[in-house]
Symmetry: C2
Subunit: 228 residues, 2 copies
């Protein structure tokens, strides 16, 4: 079965036996979404969770006046909506394909059965949720304790990984989306990128950011410095 090949590359499913893979393949359904298509809406009945084979998905909240806050933007190999599996309730956010995407769907009840008989799978899932929780904590911290320049700096550093020598970073999404992920609006993001350029922290070239002053960014991200 072709699906099994894909499943083996998903880190959530690492360490499983081939019998497990067969079972997973049995309960999964393979779905295609075009860019912009809604996968589910906040408040919909949480019937299962998803694993992305390719493409990207935007998980987001919306305010009554239409402003969006992106919570998460998973890509190939990543999962979303796991929460629905374990809280027996409704999806707490919206999900929409950010690109043309191929996605596997796992219905809640069959998946719970699998977990019950499969400690590795349970532990993998616990690790995934914990990881997500940690990222959300950092997001809360950023929104509450850092100003936009700090959040942006942190994001740039995150993208560049830990490597001291990484000079160029490619923004992996449109700036509108980046703004939404950082909890701000495109105008503000644009102004701050411009200001960072002017102060020779970065050099901006379309979606490519060249990092000129890593230390400066680090100081901004930790809140020690201000972007006058």
């Amino acid at each position: 079965m072709e699906l099994v090949k894909h499943l083996e590359e998903i880190s959530l499913f690492s360490g499983l036996t081939s019998a497990d893979y067969d079972e997973l393949a049995m309960i999964a359904t393979d779905q295609e979404f075009r860019r912009g298509q809604t996968i589910f809406n906040q408040g919909d009945e949480g019937v299962g969770f998803y694993v992305i084979l390719n493409g990207r998905v935007k998980i987001y909240k919306v305010s009554p006046d239409g402003k969006e806050q992106i919570l998460h933007l998973p890509g190939p190999g990543e999962t979303f909506a796991e929460v629905a599996v374990f809280t027996g309730s409704r999806y707490p956010a919206h999900a929409e394909a950010a690109d043309k995407s191929r996605i596997l769907f796992f219905p809640k009840s069959s998946f719970i059965g699998l977990i019950r008989n499969n400690p590795s799978l349970a532990l993998n899932m616990l690790a995934a949720l914990s990881q997500r929780l940690k990222r959300f904590s950092n997001m809360i911290e950023a929104l509450s304790l850092k100003e936009v320049p700090g959040r942006l700096a942190a994001h740039l550093l995150y993208l560049s990984g830990r490597r001291q020598d990484a000079i160029e970073v490619e923004l992996d999404m449109a700036k509108v989306q980046l703004a939404s992920l950082l909890g701000t609006i495109p105008e503000t993001l644009s102004r701050i990128l411009a200001k960072m350029s002017k102060q020779d922290l970065i050099r901006l070239n379309g979606p490519v950011v060249r990092i000129l002053d890593r230390q400066g960014l680090t100081d901004l991200a930790s809140g020690e410095t201000r972007l006058s």
Copy 2:
């Protein structure tokens, strides 16, 4: 063993056999903290997780200039620092006893062993983490998409539960802490409470809030209304 009695009341441990309780009691250590005492700091090695028997614990982040953002304020029967168990890394936030507290500590490795042999425990833990994740999503939404009056209104409604007739709510923490939980500062909170009083949404009496206009609060919380 006295501990077992306590363990049976923890919802994370519901549905376990008495043999399981004995095992849990074996690996747990019983600790006392006085009000204000640090339990661990962000960045400390994540050696295990905690269950509160009585008291309360403040889980929080700090900005370089000392401002705090409370992530979570668990009380009796609740757990914290589970994330450390499954991500094999450091604590992502600070923990401090908000009251004199009695707390059980479970070392990481023994607990993982328990989970591996105990699907119910794994599922309970998954449910707990999912619940937390949902709350964090709401927090992110609130910080990014709602203004302080909206967050406060949402919190008041949350405290009053779903009951339409609940008139009085007791703020279950000092206002400084409530401010930190809502991602603002005491001054702002104070002003907004005053404004809500002036507009007859609530009546304020020390730590007791009488809800006068539930609909008004609901509108604020959903962002439909503004607190002019």
